[in-house]
């Protein structure tokens, strides 16, 4: 007797395993291109510009806004306990350890990850990748790898910028609007944040998120159906899958390594 629910679960599990295997193979292909000549330095730099430089404004503005809100909320909360001098520490710690890497990753997914997936999927639809294959040019090497590596490269840098602008936002609200002493703000910030305990793990988290976003965006684009629907599915699929993966991995990393 067939049990549809169990059968569907079985198919879904098999599909998941197949997809994971496929992503693993895809990531091996991307890595292998980094070890063979020619190294696509110029294409990599162009991609860094596209996914990194063009994301600067949105990342900086968002960082500033998030920092301002944190300053405001932190002050309102801490002042009840007479601990408003610790606003700098609160803003800094929450940004460096958690919000900086995670929110930057979500912003990059929306701005650059979706664009990367859409661009590659459009190249699939318009046979540009097949055109490369017919010229004996590996599309993973020529198109995919520079984009994936660029996303990995820019993620920690953008997260660092996000945090800097957020600290400025927190300073603006805490010091210039709410009247906290500037020296106190920076002193609590400096004393609470450690390079090894906070900055390095934050950087590592961003690096992991960069790998996730780079891999998911390029994979979804590369394996999309060669139709208009395929392009839209790749784009939305990238945003949803990468966002969920970033949040899940954030929890796992925090739970395992306490960062």
């Amino acid at each position: 007797m067939r049990v549809p629910a169990v059968e569907n679960l079985g198919f879904a599990t098999l599909k998941l395993i197949e997809n994971l295997g496929s992503i693993a193979m895809f990531s091996v292909r991307i890595l292998s291109t980094a070890m063979v000549r020619p190294l696509r330095i110029r294409r990599f730099v162009n991609e860094v510009y596209d996914v990194g430089v063009l994301s600067l404004s949105i990342v900086c503005l968002s960082g500033f806004a998030v920092g301002a809100v944190l300053g405001l909320q932190g002050y309102d909360t801490l002042v009840r306990f007479g601990a408003e001098a610790n606003v700098g520490a609160m803003v800094g710690l929450s940004l460096v350890r958690e919000l900086g890497p995670v929110l930057t990753a979500l912003l990059v997914i929306g701005r650059a990850g979706s664009a990367v997936a859409a661009e590659i999927a459009t190249m699939v639809t318009t046979e540009q990748l097949d055109g490369l294959r017919m010229m004996s040019v590996d599309p993973v090497d020529f198109v995919v790898s520079p984009k994936a590596f660029a996303l990995v490269f820019v993620m920690p840098l953008l997260a660092a910028l996000f945090i800097v602008f957020a600290l400025m936002g927190g300073y603006l609200v805490g010091v210039m609007l709410l009247g906290l002493d500037g020296g106190t703000y920076f002193a609590s910030l400096e004393s609470s944040i450690e390079f090894r305990g906070d900055i390095v793990p934050s950087f590592s988290k961003s690096l992991v998120f960069g790998v996730l976003v780079g891999l998911i965006a390029t994979y979804r684009g590369f394996t999309s159906e060669p139709t208009a629907h395929g392009v839209s599915a790749a784009t939305t699929g990238t945003v949803v899958t990468a966002s969920v993966c970033v949040l899940l991995f954030d929890y796992v990393i925090t739970a395992l390594w306490g960062v």
């Binding site: 190249m123 055109g131 017919m134 010229m135």
Partner: protein, 282 residues
Amino acid sequence: MPNGGNWEGPGAPDVRPPPGEREFRIAADGVYLKLGGRKVFQGLTCGFFRGQISVVLGGSGAGKSTLLRMIGGLTRPDRGTIRVAGVDVSRLPERQLYRVRDRIGMLFQHGALLDSMTVFENVALPLREHSQLSESEIEAEVMRRLNSVGLENVERLYPRELSGGMNRRAALARAIVKDPEIVLVDEPFSGLDPINVRRIEALLTQLNQELGITLVVTSHHLASSLRMSHRIVFMVDGRALSGTPDDLLHSDDQRVVQFLEAEKNQSTEAYVSAIHAGGGAG
């Protein structure tokens, strides 16, 4: 071939190899392919001679483009073999396919130029990737190829800034820039005005006559197909019928007759002028 009878596959009686040729340069043998549950090929057997223009005709969904993709190793058959210059490309790993593809140029239906690159960079790409030429030599070669397809002062433009006909010609320049032995051309006339159809047709004929390139062209455009081809491969029901353009015109195979009638109704003038022109390049 007498009145369309049994004109199917390599070695069929209708096959008239050019002088000095005994075997097909490209041959599909017993090819089966299912795509998305639809049987595209059911024992497809056909071949293409060196130095000829062969046009693959057939209705929409007959598998014309898929046949070209299989020759290029982009799509693999479920069963059967595709031999290109003696090499079975149907089972070759991707890396080894590159060696075969070095001998093939392909013009895709919509050009498939990389839209993030200029026309110059697109045409230069195969040379930059696979030749030892200096940048000045590459520049000279690219300009020569662009001029040979009638394109001037477009090298700094992006593909989106070109018309359909110019896009197709730029893609043709890219396909031939490495002097391939075989050029696969997918629907070169679709969406083009009559002047551009004639222009592309003349370019393909010129490539064949002057450089001896083997051309396999898929098309819906009957008049052009009859004018330029040495050989027609007609795709129907997942199989292929093949012969000269004259064989096609005089075939009594009902499937061919129906196709010709439909085309005739669609473009009577072009059809009549093609018949008056005598049909066929050879």
